[in-house]
Subunit: 495 residues, 2 copies
């Protein structure tokens, strides 16, 4: 069996896109010659002269939270900062290659996205996660949710089966449901050095699959790096084993990776303050020794659909992401865009493309920004873990945490509920205690494919150190959380 086109859904294959304003499809009559300078009375596209915006200046920072430094420093430093103007100018009309001007960025555009930005995403993947085959490409999305929904539409017809990590980004379940697919949970190994997915469980599940009950799975959905909610990251060796299963049992891997570029070193007690970015990695070291390889890098046939987003590394409000996949899959995803919902905002594409190309200097410059984000996230992660490690609840063995290798999530385990017969009820009561202490967390049981399947592994909260405004809030959150657990425990496991 070669290729993966037999795994594309009937619905996706059946879509045809065409535009009523295109040239007639019949052959031109004899003697027809195209005009050298044709004019348009066809498309309903307003000329860019109707756009009220003449140009846009985007003013940037050099590193995350720079505005807090500005705010904290004296007026003297502030004016110094302002002198060093750090901005890009987006014109109505520009002839610079690879930059988008407003006459393009604010105009109707192809659903797959503007070419300079698509090419950037392809160059970015070649640098970070080069696929092991050739006929792949990138298509823009309006963020990871849109990407996942489109991936589901591309693969699943009603009744098809998708394997999903038992604790997961639950909106995926709605997207697979939209396409009519049935989600089957895969056990996660929650021990501290786990790869996430319980390999033996998955292998047995596939080996003993009863096709009289359900058709064999068409795809596995996995957040392989900094898994949501558990934070686990699959090693390259582990991915090779999973990929072999995908080949043997002929299924697609949907690899969702919203923040895997935020690799995190092993815990060490935090010393620096949040603005100290001097110790960050060199790009070479990062790419060779820290960034976990994607499934793309072991995929020699196009069996992987990789879903990325600019939400976590640039900003969520852009509503901008992209999918890397084999060309036949990209084609049906493009048809979905043309027949269901159009593409991403051209304004968002223009700002991201030009910030990256005009200011940061392309792929490597963008990665340098990612390294600064990574340094800040790494500091935050260590600060949160440090606060937990120093807590009475931890020292008494009431709680444990899993030190994540990437991303923004930490598994916070309630050890004394490990084998409790009423885990979910107690976790719900504990959550009220945590909330009353003034911190919100996500209970694992809210993020299951099937709560009853996962009950005995639901004694954890997902913690996220991304939204905090500053170091103080992270430390304070950790204290409140561990104090709440301690009081709950000392009160006889009651509120």
């Amino acid at each position: 069996m070669t290729g993966i086109s037999h795994l594309i859904s009937k619905r996706a294959k059946s879509r045809v896109s065409s535009h009523f304003a295109n040239a007639p499809s019949d052959q031109p009559p004899k003697g027809f010659k195209p005009h050298e300078k044709p004019l348009l009375l066809s498309y309903g596209t307003p000329n860019d002269g109707f756009f009220p915006i003449d140009s846009i200046d985007v003013n940037l920072v050099e590193f995350p939270f720079e505005h807090q430094v500005k705010f904290n420093n004296s007026m003297e430093n502030l004016s110094l900062n302002e002198q060093k103007k750090n901005s890009i100018h987006i014109e109505r009309h520009s002839t610079k290659p690879n930059l988008l001007d407003l006459s393009r960025g604010l105009q109707y555009a192809n659903v797959e996205g503007h070419k300079p930005l698509i090419e950037f995403t392809e160059d970015f993947i070649k640098r970070t996660h080069p696929p092991a085959y050739d006929n792949w490409s990138s298509i823009l999305t309006t963020g990871a949710s849109d990407g996942l929904n489109k991936a589901c539409d591309a693969l699943f017809d009603p009744g098809d089966v998708v394997l999903v990590e038992e604790f997961t980004f639950t909106p995926f379940l709605r997207f697979s449901q939209n396409a009519g697919a049935i989600a089957v949970p895969v056990k996660i190994d929650l021990s501290n050095d786990s790869n996430g997915i319980d390999f033996d469980y998955l292998e047995n599940l596939l080996k003993n699959w009863d096709t009289s009950k359900l058709p064999k799975p068409k795809a596995l959905y996995t957040i392989a790096t900094g898994q949501n909610p558990t934070g686990f990251t699959q090693t390259l060796e582990f991915r090779k084993k999973i990929y072999k299963l995908a080949t043997d049992y002929d299924f697609i891997i949907i690899e969702d990776d919203p923040y895997g570029y935020l690799t995190l070193p092993k815990y060490q007690p935090p010393k620096k303050n949040q603005f100290d970015l001097k110790d960050h990695l060199t790009l070479d070291d990062y790419l060779k020794n820290h960034l976990t390889p994607s499934y793309l890098e072991i995929d020699d046939i196009g069996r992987v659909i990789r879903v990325e987003t600019f939400s976590k590394l640039f900003a969520p409000g852009l509503r901008l992401g992209f999918i890397i996949a084999e060309n036949s899959i990209v084609k049906v995803i493009k048809n979905y865009g043309e027949t269901v919902n159009r593409g991403a905002s051209g304004l968002a594409q223009t700002v991201v493309n030009n910030v990256i190309r005009d200011k940061l200097g392309g792929v490597d410059g963008w990665l340098e920004w990612v390294l600064k984000m990574r340094a800040t996230y790494s500091h935050r992660k260590d600060l949160l873990l440090h606060t937990i490690y120093e807590s009475e609840a931890y020292k008494k063995g009431l709680v444990d945490v899993i030190d994540p290798k990437a991303g923004m999530f930490v598994t916070f385990k309630i050890e004394f509920l490990q084998n409790d017969p009423n885990i979910v009820a107690k976790m719900k009561e504990l959550l009220w205690k945590v909330i009353s202490y003034g911190v919100s967390v996500v209970p694992g049981h809210n993020m299951t494919v099937d709560q009853s399947f996962s009950t005995e592994r639901s004694n954890f909260f997902r913690l996220c150190y991304a939204p905090a405004n500053n170091d103080f809030e992270i430390v304070e959150s950790g204290k409140r959380l561990t104090d709440a657990v301690l009081e709950f425990y000392e009160n006889g496991e009651k509120f």
Copy 2:
């Protein structure tokens, strides 16, 4: 029968949205008190300190095509223009009510859109097309296509019937198909003073509907102002008659209005140049005497779904529009957003909201901008018609045009193909001639619900004067078009 909720699709009604990071749904235990200053370890939202953009300056023009005046004028005037700085500054953090700052605009947001912009669209509708009932609201979309697709999803289950003007914006047919609906064409009256829809045809169709063949229609889709492609506008009296049919036969009206605010006076020979906007209307005169009332204004129950967009009046690349509908419909459209694709780009929302509120001064200021657009479009329309009226083809009676009362489309009729037995084949051949003369137009037969139903009315092209760069191109396009038709005719109706 009261209300319209019985017309909502089963699919849309069945959708439930919830977020895994929300508070537990159970009752809090006795003694629970919420914390006064809660901190977040829950949502996976990056703090705005991670956003690389610190602020944005949006530089505006005072009137359409101002940049061409600048370009044409001397350097002296240019620097004068530049001195009068016409821009808005969008900050990372702002406390100004009704303005969006980047910490909100670039962050995750509700799928229905940011509150200030939703409220603007509601205030705008109250000023221009006040609905005749109370329980309506606005929800943002990623443009008219997204709005139409969501309207179809909200109404149609597989096998439902939707009535569609026989010549139409054909992407609608894909959206209704996505929901499984069957589109039935409604005849258009193509005579010069028509309202578009052939009322008698529609009334008879409904009166004699055979429910043993197809279920009775659930909705009528109409572009009631500046119809696409024909350019017709329905009068208020005509809309009242159609609305009565909707009540009598219990169907929804999907009113698609992308550019109806661009009202156009009756043709007069163009004198002024394109930059002369002095003769534009006062706002009061425009609202009272020029703007055609929407179906909303005669809708006392919520039977109308109005689909608007910022594409034609601001810019298409924003991917931003909105829907005005009865609250139960808005609710299922919101659920679609939460379970299928997320909302519009927050960056686009921020730019549009702040340009309109911070610079133009809200609803009336925005309408003043629309009046400037209208003056430019009106000039362009008259210029194109003038060129056609002056042509030999017109003077010989070979062609006719319909003077549109709104929008951006003109019906250009090929009179000598009126009763031709091979209309479509000849129109296709004529199109090649037109293309060889260096102008592209859209043939009516490309925009039919059912080409065979509409064959005898397909002897026209749709002309659009929106994309041209300047007056010269409009005149030149009209000349090329009429010359091509003349040659085709003189060559024995052959290429």
